[in-house]
Symmetry: none
Subunit: 89 residues, 2 copies
C-alpha cells in the first residue's frame, strides 16, 4: 500500500510515480499503461483523480490516449512537448 505525503496533492505524487516508471522504461513506448480502473485499485484513489493524473501526463507529452482502448506511452522524443494533441502517435 502506497503512503502519500499528507502535505502535497495526491495527484502530483501519482504523476511523479508514473513518470518515473515511464522514464525508467517500466512502461514501454507504444505500450499501454494500466487502465484507469487498475490505477484506482493500485493507488486506492478516485477515478477522477486518476484522470487528472493521466490528463497531466498527456499534456506533458508522456502519453496519448485512444478512447475505448487505453493510454499509451509516447516515444522519448515526444516527452515534455506539451502538445494539446489528444490522439495518435
Amino acid at each position: 500500500m502506497i503512503e502519500f505525503e499528507p502535505d502535497r496533492p495526491i495527484w502530483i505524487q501519482v504523476v511523479e510515480i508514473l513518470r518515473g516508471r515511464i522514464e525508467r522504461g517500466e512502461y514501454q513506448p507504444r505500450h499501454l499503461v494500466p487502465s484507469e480502473v487498475q490505477m484506482v485499485q493500485e493507488f486506492s484513489i478516485a477515478r477522477t483523480t486518476v484522470r487528472k493524473v493521466i490528463a497531466y501526463l498527456r499534456d506533458q507529452g508522456f502519453v496519448y490516449t485512444v478512447p475505448q482502448i487505453g493510454t499509451f506511452v509516447h516515444h522519448r522524443d515526444k516527452w515534455h512537448q506539451s502538445e494539446s494533441r489528444q490522439t495518435e502517435d
Copy 2:
C-alpha cells in the same frame, strides 16, 4: 416504474431490491437472475450502475457470474461469504 429515494444511492436501493427477491426465493438457486440489459430496462438505470449492483451482490456471496452466460443465484450457505473481491468504479 420504480421510484428511488433521492437521498440514497440508486445502486444501494437496487441491491436491496434484488437481495430481497433472492432471500424470498423469487430468484431460485442455480438459476439465472435477469441479464444486465433486462435490469437496465426494468429499473431504468445505466448498465454501469447495474454492474455495480451485481459486483456487490457477488462480493456478498449472493450470486456468481459466468462470463457470456449470466449471473446465477448461490445457495443459501454461500450467502454473506464475501469471497474474492473485485470492486471498481
